[in-house]
């Protein structure tokens, strides 16, 4: 195991540093390790994401995809290595954590909207409380965001009154309202009924087209092929292979990747 993995690491690191996007580094993970008790969820993750780049992360369940992006905004604390987001290193310093969370929007598998607040309040809460935007200004901004995800007419409803697809789009609007520099998507379509997946994917495609830096954990291979600048394949807490979608889906190098692709395609 070790021999091949060693090679892989070197190769992957080389691959992963060739960012897409504008060429500036937006997110940099180097040597990131995360353990849950004795279980190592991430071992030696190295990945750089460029400004305006879209990186899609795929892999079998339990491979550490979610854990990796949850480390980027400190929903999980990494045990070793460095995580730098737009020049700010993620340390135990609360100011840095807050700074990074402000610049990083996250969309969850289960939406995690606030059920006791209206859609508009969901979207405006963070701008008002974290950025101290005045109410009027925040609502104008919120409406803009809801228009961007194409559900402005739902502003006065509660999340429980919306469909799953609509809820997930509100969640995207809520993250966007903080004007983040990076968006993290943690399996955003996995909890949706099939007929609602596309409305969410379309919203994400719009976002990518507008030049948002995105890391997307997903099982939607169509989305990966169409939108991704690079695809990252993870297994057993490691990055196994990184490449452009063409390379990745037509001519993967690693056996593990081939096996995974043959299982899902």
């Amino acid at each position: 195991m070790s021999d091949r993995d060693q090679n892989t690491d070197v190769e992957v690191f080389a691959d992963a540093t060739q960012m897409g996007g504008s060429g500036e580094v937006m997110i940099e993970l180097s040597g990131v390790v995360k353990r849950f008790g004795k279980f190592t969820a991430l071992q030696n993750i190295n990945l750089s994401v460029g400004r305006q780049e879209v990186v899609v992360v795929i892999g079998p369940s339990g491979s550490g995809k979610s854990t990796m992006i949850r480390c980027i905004n400190r929903l999980e604390e990494h045990d070793a290595g460095r995580i730098v987001v737009d020049g700010t290193e993620l340390t135990n310093d609360l100011r840095n954590i807050t700074e990074i969370r402000r610049e990083t929007g996250m969309v969850f598998q289960q939406f995690n909207l606030f059920p006791h607040l209206t859609v508009m309040d969901n979207v405006t809460l963070a701008p008002r409380q974290v950025r101290h935007t005045p109410k009027k200004e925040a609502e104008r901004l919120g409406m803009e965001m809801l228009e961007q995800v194409r559900i402005p007419e739902q502003a006065r409803k509660y999340p429980g009154q919306l469909s799953g697809g609509q809820q997930q789009r509100v969640a995207i609007a809520r993250a966007l309202a903080m004007k983040p520099k990076v968006m993290l998507f943690d399996e955003p379509t996995s909890a949706l009924d099939p007929e609602m997946i596309n409305e969410v994917l379309d919203t994400m495609k719009d976002l990518a087209r507008e030049g948002m830096t995105m890391i997307v954990v997903t099982h939607e291979m169509g989305f990966a092929k169409e939108v991704a600048d690079r695809v990252v394949f993870m297994a057993d807490g490691q990055i196994v292979e990184v490449g452009t979608p063409e390379h990745f889906f037509k001519d993967p190098t690693e056996d593990r990747t081939k096996l995974f692709l043959s299982q899902i395609l």
């Binding site: 929903l75 990083t104 995690n112 059920p115 209206t118 809460l125 228009e147 559900i151």
Partner: protein, 512 residues
């Protein structure tokens, strides 16, 4: 709704009148099998007998004179009669305040949704049909039809005054019936005046909140604050607590300055709800001083004392309980240990014993010159005791929240404090309303322990004392007075319970 649904059936189906339908129902539900029939008959006989005896007791054999004559003892104990205007003013003020809030919140819920251009106009999903332009066109031509949801909401809220009155009667009938019963027992006109004044104050407050425009309401609120501030200055607010007069006055001036500053600030930003809350807070403080600064509160009694103890203790134990619950989940070990120890200590001791301890044993440990009055001690015991239970209830609510809620708030950059107050607590507290109100009702009923433990003349003690004095001595009238006490407590408890159910339903909106 039901009226509309029923009307056509009555027209279309001519035959089934009410009588045959009742017969069918009875046959199906009461006499389906012979055994069913037997059970029905036996149960009817027993119920009829109990009903007959109850009727006999209430209307024939019961000697209710003891209640009628001692009504004031039951209601206010030995409270100085010349000072009774103080609680009356307090009741009127509270009624008016509640009225203003109710009226104000009605204007808020029925106010049209502020339309931001084309956005709200189109109930359809604008993603279809390449919506934007079409929507704007539609708006330019005609006012948009309300969407189905908006219409139904308007339906809900737009009930006629009569319907709303009926709804209120259905909701509050135990309370209304209880008050009417008390009024029917009254021998003077004063209770009628008080009751009528309360209704008028509530109604006036409602109209004020409902129809007076925002800015005028704000002026009223500010005036209220200034009155409260003036009262602080006028009286020596804290002398009844044993605070020296000079300190009391100084505190009064500080409070008055705070009131004035707050009023000016609120007027500046035009925050009506905040202004109302401010008026409420300072107002209740002023009322508390009004209630106690001439009479203290050791001379309170009767139902008034039970209600007073319950209200104050509920108001104090709720925030304390929430803090304890948060503390028990804190990451800091010291805070967690202290909170846990507190909760487990107070939950492990009987309330009655705590009251005895506060009343009697405290004197052994603390010199009498600095021990607070007995009522203060009773309030402290009720507050500390119930807070421990409230803490556990709230903790249950906190644990019922999915982790994703805090994660989402953190991911947005909200601080831990803001996450707690904007995301976690509102949801957790809503989830535990039933248990919490149950605890408050329990506290209200437990206030009857103060008679036995501390020798207060509360409602229960008063009802016992009434049978031992004057003409009623030695006639065994506890059979009349105790059920009367039970009835009054039942009225209070059932009202709390029903209002909490309503609150629950109201807050549950939108989370279905």
């Amino acid at each position: 709704m039901t009226a509309i649904a029923r009307a056509p059936t009555a027209v279309v189906v001519p035959v089934p009148g009410p009588v045959p339908r009742a017969l069918t129902w009875g046959r199906r539900n009461l006499f389906r099998t012979p055994i069913d029939g037997m059970v029905t008959i036996v149960a009817t006989v027993i119920a009829a007998y109990i009903g007959y005896r109850l009727f006999q007791f209430v209307f024939v054999t019961g000697r209710w004179d003891v209640v009628r004559v001692n009504l004031s003892l039951f209601l206010v104990g030995r409270f100085e009669r010349n000072e009774l205007w103080r609680p009356v003013v307090a009741v009127l003020a509270v009624a008016g305040y509640i009225g203003v809030w109710t009226g104000y919140s009605r204007t808020r819920t029925t106010a049209p949704i502020p339309a931001t251009g084309a956005v709200i106009a189109n109930p359809e999903n604008p993603t279809t049909l390449g919506g934007g332009a079409a929507v704007i066109g539609a708006v330019a031509q005609e006012p948009p039809p309300p969407s189905a949801d908006e219409a139904s909401e308007v339906d809900d809220e737009g009930a006629t005054p009569v319907e709303r009155a009926v709804d209120m009667l259905g909701r509050l009938w135990p309370l209304i019936a209880g008050v009417l019963l008390l009024l029917s027992l009254a021998t003077t006109g004063t209770p009628w005046l008080v009751a009528g004044g309360t209704v008028l104050a509530a109604g006036g407050g409602y109209l004020l909140g409902r129809f007076v425009p925002t800015r005028a309401l704000l002026v009223v609120a500010t005036l209220g604050l200034i009155v409260a501030a003036a009262y602080f200055l006028w009286v020596d607010p804290f002398n009844w607590l044993g605070v020296p007069s000079s300190v009391g006055k100084a505190l009064g001036v500080i409070a008055a300055a705070a009131v004035a500053a707050t009023a000016a600030g609120l007027a500046f930003v035009r925050r009506i709800p905040a202004a109302l809350v401010g008026v409420g807070l300072f107002g209740s403080l002023a009322l508390l001083i009004l209630l106690t600064n001439a009479v203290g509160w050791d001379d309170w009694g009767g139902l008034m004392m039970n209600i007073f103890l319950a209200v104050i203790s509920i108001g104090l134990c709720f925030p304390l309980g929430v803090l304890l619950a948060l503390g028990r989940r804190s990451k800091m070990p010291l805070i967690r240990i202290v909170c846990t120890a507190y909760i487990e200590l107070f939950r492990g001791v009987p309330l009655y014993v705590l009251l005895l301890m506060a009343g009697i044993a405290l004197g052994f440990f603390v010199p009498s010159s600095i021990t607070p009055g007995l009522v203060t001690r009773a309030i402290a015991v009720f507050t500390l005791f119930t807070a421990a239970y409230v803490a556990e209830i709230v903790r249950g609510g906190l644990q019922s929240l999915p982790r994703g809620q805090t994660e989402a708030a953190q991911a947005l950059g909200l601080s831990a404090v803001r996450t707690t107050f904007f995301i976690v607590l509102p949801q957790a507290l809503r989830n535990v309303i039933p248990a919490m109100v149950g605890q408050f009702i329990s506290l209200f009923k437990d206030t009857t322990l103060v008679g036995g433990a501390l020798g207060f003349l509360d409602l229960l003690a008063g009802s016992q004392a009434a049978t031992r004095q004057g003409d009623f001595r030695g006639q065994g009238l506890l059979g009349e007075t105790i059920p009367f006490v039970m009835l009054l407590f039942w009225v209070g408890s059932i009202t709390m319970s029903r209002e909490s159910q309503r609150l629950e339903r109201k807050l549950g909106v939108g989370t279905r």
